[in-house]
Symmetry: C2
Subunit: 618 residues, 2 copies
């Protein structure tokens, strides 16, 4: 830790520094961030861009009680955390990971909200400001939002509302000329014109929405920033201060040669690879499930591009983390569209293409599909649009709570007309993808396999190599009878119905049960979770007394409860295994599986006990 930073225990300490010390503080924080992100992993580029702006904010404003600062998405707030009493979590390797990568009210009164999705900071800030005005308080409310977030509908709704609401509101537009990847949308032409003209361009979308406006070209210059913020402080109407920052400032041309997996390791400027840096310890690891299965999917689709002009992959800004790498994008040409952070637009656009005979594929994380719920229900499902959603990052994980992947089953399977598929391996996944983007002619969501399946496939040797070549679709998925469950093993007494990624857990559970009881249970891979397969389910009634469902998504409102309802008035007993209806912030997967009773040993014991209980009751 540097000599200035070690004296900073709160924003009041920033206010005591002279200009030269402030510069020194920025340099020290920058060095801390580069080391922290390299060692621990993190949003390196955006945080390096916001060192000076955040120091300037804490120099000028007085949170948490008099003023408020709301960080959009909040992954750029590391400096804010460092300045508000949490510096050791970034400077002491033994404390890395003890704070969230996002703002978090449980950590600090300086954090008003727990945020990880794009575009809501302005509305939230308007809410704080409105209450201030209704109660006759004073103080400044600041929303800090990146240019990438501006493409999102919620951000626009907030900006549009701000001017009407009136009163003090300071929107800092942190323009580093990048979204997660490059920016997309007509708005960015106006931003570029504003930058080129030093803020004087007549094309000013913010003034058009009724906001006052100021431009700061040197968005990483403390003096310029402090002056601009001082001038806006205690303003009586909404103003947007457009600051031009440099993503990854301090990384230079990059400080490692790269693993060869990604184009563009972290480096200064407009580099996609500096959105997120993996922890140093993970460099050289095999790629994760998102990248592996995402890349397999892209390989499989790419082979068809020449013959199918309407086969198009649409990514709402999240391409790279889902295996949609720059090489694919270059080769895909018009078959790939990065639409920026516009999930609603992505799904409606896809529905439009489907109506005209196309086969669009929309790929993003399950947590972000929440942002297009209405378009999935209306434009896609109700209209019967032949859109395929590739739903990444599902299931129990140790991720930040804002990026949880356990709610998608409940969300998607409740939507009428949506065919929900859960592949249990790469070949199965590709068979489903081929069906969904071809003969299915219907709205389909595919739950992309996760870590459990990937680990199982690697153990089995069905996926070899760092980035295996796409296996040929293996026919285990029968598109003509997609609604049929796949019975992998026929047994008696107990039947395990394991959806998608839980199949490896069910296999292990079955092995334990077989060893303990001498009787092999039935093992069913449903393959889909939108329809009940009457044939299979009625068949189970004959030789079984107990059905266990496993799903890697919230039990409440999920798939297993449909099975419980199906057998509600039959003598068959049903036990639903799956995560509970609760939020979890960075809880290790193993711990969650223990908590939810989803370890093979526990499940086997519970099923064995349930069977014994039933036999005693006879």
């Amino acid at each position: 830790m540097g000599t200035i930073l070690e004296r900073i225990d709160g924003p009041e300490d920033v206010k005591c520094l002279d200009r030269e010390e402030l510069e020194g503080l920025a340099a020290e924080i920058r060095a801390v961030l580069i080391e922290y992100c390299g060692a621990h992993g993190g949003h390196v580029g955006s945080n390096l861009a916001t060192v000076e702006p955040i120091i300037a904010l804490h120099r000028v404003f007085n949170p948490p009680h008099h003023d408020h600062i709301v960080f959009d998405v909040s992954h750029q707030a590391y400096t804010h955390k460092i300045l508000t009493g949490r510096r050791r979590a970034f400077t002491d390797p033994s404390l890395y990971g003890t704070v969230s990568g996002f703002t978090c009210p449980e950590e600090s009164p300086y954090d008003d909200f727990m945020l990880g999705h794009t575009g809501t900071s302005i509305s939230l800030a308007c809410g704080l400001a409105r209450m201030r005005d209704l109660t006759g308080d004073d103080g400044n409310v600041v929303a800090f939002i990146g240019d990438g977030s501006l493409s999102s509908g919620p951000a626009f709704e907030g900006l549009d509302w701000a001017a009407e609401q009136g009163g003090n509101l300071i929107v800092i537009l942190n323009d580093n000329e990048m979204s997660i990847a490059e920016n997309h949308g007509g708005l960015y032409r106006s931003l570029a014109a504003l930058r080129r003209s030093g803020g004087r361009s007549a094309m000013n979308p913010f003034r058009d929405l009724g906001l006052d406006y100021r431009y700061v070209e040197e968005g990483n210059d403390l003096g310029s920033l402090i002056d601009a913020f001082e001038a806006a402080k205690d303003i009586d109407h909404p103003i947007l201060i457009h600051i031009h920052t440099r993503k990854g400032l301090g990384l230079g041309h990059g400080r490692r040669s790269g693993s060869g997996l990604l184009e563009g390791t972290p480096a200064e400027g407009r580099v996609e690879g500096n959105h997120w840096e993996d922890a140093r310890s993970s460099v050289g690891n095999l790629p994760n499930s998102r990248k592996t299965y995402g890349r397999l999917a892209m390989q499989a689709l790419q082979r068809r591009f020449a013959d199918e002009p309407g086969l198009v992959v649409i990514s709402p800004a999240t391409a790279l983390s889902n295996g949609i790498d720059p090489e694919f994008r270059r080769q895909a040409g018009s078959h790939f569209m990065d639409v920026g952070i516009t999930e609603s637009n992505a799904v409606a656009l896809a529905a439009g293409m489907a109506r005209a005979g196309g086969h669009p594929v929309v790929a993003t994380s399950s947590t972000f599909f929440q942002r297009a719920y209405d378009q999935i229900e209306q434009e896609m499902a109700l209209n019967g649009s032949a859109v395929t959603l590739l739903n990444f990052s599902t299931g129990i994980s140790g991720t930040d709570v804002t990026h949880s992947g356990v709610s998608d089953i409940a969300m998607m399977t409740s939507i009428p007309g949506l065919t929900c598929l859960a592949p249990t391996g790469a070949a199965d996944f590709l068979s489903m993808l081929a069906w969904a983007t071809g003969p299915a002619h219907r709205p389909v969501v595919i739950r992309v396999p996760g870590e459990l399946t990937l680990a199982y496939e690697r153990r089995q040797g069905t996926l070899t190599g760092e980035y295996p070549k796409a296996p040929v679709a293996d026919g285990t998925f029968d598109g003509g009878h997609w609604e049929h469950y796949r019975t992998l093993q026929s047994g008696q007494g107990v039947a395990l119905l394991a959806l998608g990624d839980t199949l490896p857990l069910a296999r292990a559970t079955a092995a334990i049960l077989t060893e303990r009881t001498g009787r092999a249970p039935t093992l069913v891979d449903p393959g889909q979770y939108s329809l009940m397969d009457d044939d299979t389910l009625e068949g189970l009634g004959k030789d079984h007394r107990l059905v266990a469902t496993l799903e890697d998504g919230q039990v409440e409102g999920g798939w297993g409860q449909r099975i419980a309802s199906y057998f509600g008035s039959s003598p068959l007993h049903v036990i639903n295994f799956g995560p509970a209806r609760e939020f979890n912030d960075r809880v290790p997967v193993g711990q969650l599986r223990e908590r939810y009773g989803m370890t093979p040993v526990f499940m086997a014991s519970r099923l064995e006990e349930a069977m014994k209980g039933m036999e005693q009751g006879d």
Copy 2:
């Protein structure tokens, strides 16, 4: 039917008319619309504003194969329907209601999409245009969108994307200076400046997004419109044509004196009452459940405004239909905010206010809360924001499919941390509202009672008068123990658990069962659907063999299936009653209840049979 209109069987017939005949056609259609909306009910104001623009579109463009027209929300498309072979549905009273009030591909190849939610037309049009370009086709794609829709995030995302996509795209901005009520948001200042300047204002949000722009002041003048559309036809880049129209044109000062219930019956110009006109036959009817319970809620809240500056009602443009009438709004002052059609903003804004100690109430239809799913999950539930959602228009109804109210239970109850309440009467509702906006300090959604409850209360005499005064909260809802189910009647054998609006059905079912079997079933009003009440449920296990759940929302993913799962490994049988996972377009309620087996007679028989089956099995 007029003499020109009777010759119009398709758009080709419009193209044969001379200018004078076109004017005559417009006059005839206007007369038809006034008569139709008055007799049958409909979106009178917006349709009267779009007579000439739609005639001009069909004069100039060549749908359905060469060109495409996508109507945003599509409630303004009656003239389009009249011109595309469906005129008799508007001119022949015996055929009224045979076509949807929205575009509908099942009705006509001229309708590309079934739409009823705001803001997606531009993205959908972009999708059609993109496929045209990918396949090397030609033709024009037109998106027709109202000024009220422009405040919505999806519309912005589409506009922003359009310029980047490039190619032919014609956005018609139908600016009648009104949303459902008046417009809200800073954007509308720019629209006003454009109107005042004849389109020459430098503050042009559309040019700022990279779109070409043209203004037509006389948006109800056929000549001006045809000229503008001809000029834009076959354009090679996106253009927005801003046409200034007059809502309700032809109604004059209104043609009936009004029922006294609404301020502003349909009349020409900026009149809230011309958004929707009730059928003549319904005039004088008692107000429906939305208006009745909405008004009761507003009365109850209003009494507290003087003492609680942070008690605020937020409406995303849908105030009047939910009983939030102009008189309330005037008296509420700063305690009421119409935020325009911005559901994402409404919920995030409320979360911001809650964080600052306020008690915001967001009121809209359940189908529109879908548009804020992500904000309900992230900003509201995850952040534990003390926001109350008043969820109107839930349950089975004969409504247009785009406005269905059966998906909210599955959607809301899957969200962790969200307390979901289902009152079963006015006093209960107001008790819950008082708790949610006061001591609860948590995110709450209240399912506003519907027609079944209203009819029951009127029969019981607990609600008297056209608009009854708010009864005092009756204490049937115990906020301190909100998670406890309310057991209304203790019986044996069968237990009926009836959520919210289904309680009157359960009462009737219980009466039939009692009469037939001589044994009264247990009757439980859970009051909430977010938590299992272990005490009550375990208690049922003792004296009962069969539990029936009733809910007025989709069974799959809903509340009853949670009960089925709860009893999955107990000897208790469970039957879940509720609507199926399917879309329904204007199917009468009675027919749906028959289909879902939700009539008291059917339910009683099914339960009786199930009990007999179990007794025989003993």
